[in-house]
Symmetry: C2
Subunit: 423 residues, 2 copies
């Protein structure tokens, strides 16, 4: 991306970056009260600006309709009154969350007499790259602000008018709390080179959080000179163990697939212990048929129910659609092996009453969320009690799983002495 | 690096990587008792192999002398009986540390009825690239093993015979505990292309920890396709505040510089509040003169003591030598500004009895360790109570500061339900 960047865009993004770095020092030391008052003032501004927001959003929608944007994208783009209510509610919830910054843990005396502990601190400047949903602008800004970070928000070009209108509300919130405007900056150009520039400025940007299609995220991960918090796929599994309680297992397997087909926590592959497959799968097939879910199965599955034979490709696929692959496995070991091999380290669940199997599954499945007797669609920052999430990470370093306020901070060592010397 | 890699080395490293990935699944689920017994058996093997270690080390030393290795490097290379004792003691200490793996924290009920918490888990496969000290082989292997990770160790070519001899002891420890040999693999080639290959295998290696010269670390950071935990510089500061107690401040400033000149936690720049500079600096100049420390000062410093004028370059320099740059600042704000601008986010200390200044310095200095009334040379995993360290990280994500067992692990979410459904 960087090679073809027009110089002026790089200059513009560098200016945003430099301003964000300066503002990050101010927001990092802002009090909880000051940050909360900015959030609540932004909420008031949003509530008072419903007409302006609707007008700006209508500009984006009209342009989208004119350029033939797909109905699903137009739907995501729409700032309905309910979505504005959702943003307001989000701001109030984030304001109500405990401030993670400055918390000190494990302060202990060492043999030398110094005390050593860890203090939670903001990461600095967060760059967020996202697509059509304009409400992400407010959600991301509020999480970054509360966690003491400055942010640079690069939304989809099709939402530029809506994002500008939301930015005005955020700016009113920051101003009301006496915080610098550059704590939250919305990139005000639809030039695609802005993304390339944002990921090439490690001196000004500490982390990139990309949200959107897999292609976008892969490109950003490959080219970014800044660390990226991300997930690519959500190939989530539910494993129904031999000791699963049948009605519970059926409801979990149904909910995991059908709560919403398009979310990254939706189950894509169902694994069933061979000991219960003959009892479990025919019942499930009826439930899925009612929902119109297409089934693709391994050989043993196809011998039990009506399903298309699954190809190797199927086990690697995130359908995000009413399609499900099903495999009958020999038992726990093969289930864990399958998940660690084909999965995407996102979210995987075991349904069982067997304590030993549960313990092993939770320990040995190498995913950012592991679940017992719960559907994978619970993989969500709000459901986890984080208040909200900026995204889900399947990397192994730093934050794994839904990333909320804690994931937007790190820990530094604090050492307190009273003149102790070394050696 | 990767471009010029001979195919056979890439094949060899891929084989190590694949074996490490498989072994990582086994060591990840090994019990604490099993891991500790491997560590203690390796210690016994080491103790019984002193003659073999001495002979192997002598081969390296003779080769080093023949190729004209510098005396400082020859010294690092030497496996003296005291250093072997140190390795033994290290193994026993790591065995005695609590096992971080599997610890679950913050398990809480959510409104939906599911319980959500976080479980500490190994990272997987750690690649460690280091230079002449062969004792690093044992230290790194023991920390990786205890934290449930497989590792691939790439030591300096000048230490290859010593590293092989140490590897034999580690293998005896693993075998005694019934663990796979590939849990710890020492790269058995002096071909430099092995480093390029190791950092190009993200499917088999989860983290790279480089230890050595700045040039090596910069090259690895630039080229690695695997995340790198590292620090480049240790430009550490001590700030003597207006409310510092003079004798305490003098001893801290002396110890921070002179405990050892070559460690990354050595102070490189001394900042002094202008209110106390006239009293503090002349006394310090005498103490440093006794140690033969060369002083380079700002204008105000040079007006008070005998020092060479410091250039802009000096504030950016990690001397690792008996040289110190000194700047008189207007107060706390300028001290924090100086450190955040010129520092390397490693370790910085304030000397003061002023509670408010201490609180601000600890919160606002953006370094991986911040200290109060303690010399920066305390920046060390052992002094921090980590038992040992695999390195020091100045990055903002994941682990900051000395990295011990906790830094070699991550946290995944654990969700426990009893059939709760979403929506």
């Amino acid at each position: 991306m960087a090679q073809t960047m027009p110089e002026s865009i790089l200059d513009y993004m560098t200016r945003l970056g430099r301003a964000a770095r300066e503002a990050s020092r101010v927001i990092a030391r802002a009090s909880s009260a000051q940050k909360n008052s900015a959030l609540l003032a932004a909420a008031s501004a949003l509530d008072e600006s419903r007409a302006a927001l609707a007008a700006a959003n209508e500009q984006d929608l009209a342009a989208g309709r004119a350029t033939g944007l797909e109905p699903a994208l137009l739907d995501r783009l729409a700032l309905t009154p309910a979505r504005i209510d959702g943003m307001l509610e989000g701001l109030r919830q984030v304001a109500a969350l405990p401030d993670p910054v400055g918390a000190i843990r494990d302060m202990r005396y060492q043999p030398s007499g110094i005390q050593v502990g860890k203090m939670r601190v903001p990461l600095g400047v967060i760059g967020i790259i996202y697509e059509s949903r304009p409400n992400v602008t407010m959600d991301a800004a509020s999480l970054c602000l509360k966690s003491g970070n400055a942010c640079i928000l690069r939304g989809g070009s099709e939402a530029i008018h809506s994002n500008r209108a939301i930015a005005v509300c955020i700016q009113r919130g920051l101003a009301a709390a006496g915080l610098p405007a550059a704590v939250v900056q919305v990139v005000d150009t639809t030039d695609r080179a802005a993304v390339g520039a944002l990921i090439s400025l490690p001196e000004f940007v500490d982390v990139i959080v990309p949200r959107g299609g897999k292609g976008l995220i892969e490109r950003i991960s490959r080219d970014s000179k800044v660390p990226v918090l991300k997930h690519l796929d959500g190939i989530c599994h539910v494993y129904v163990d031999a000791l699963a309680e049948q009605p519970k297992a059926q409801q979990i397997a149904l909910n995991a697939k059908c709560y919403r087909y398009g979310i990254c926590g939706a189950m894509e592959t169902l694994l069933v212990d061979q000991a219960v497959a003959a009892a479990f799968l025919p019942a499930m097939a009826l439930l899925y048929a009612e929902k119109g879910v297409e089934l693709r199965g391994c050989e043993r599955t196809c011998a039990l129910i009506n399903a298309t034979p699954a190809s190797e490709e199927d086990w690697h696929t995130e359908y995000l659609a009413p399609i499900l692959s099903i495999r009958v496995v020999d038992g726990l070991d093969q289930a864990i092996e399958h998940i660690n091999h084909y999965g995407s380290h996102h979210t995987d669940s075991i349904v069982t009453e067997h304590q030993g199997h549960a313990r092993r599954f939770l320990a040995e499945v190498d995913s950012s969320s592991v679940m017992l007797n719960a559907p994978t669609c619970f993989a969500d920052g709000f459901e986890y009690g984080l208040g909200a999430e900026i995204g889900i990470s399947t990397g192994k370093l730093h934050a794994r799983g839904p990333v909320g306020l804690e994931g937007l901070t790190g820990e530094k060592y604090v050492v307190i002495g009273d003149g102790q010397l070394r050696g």
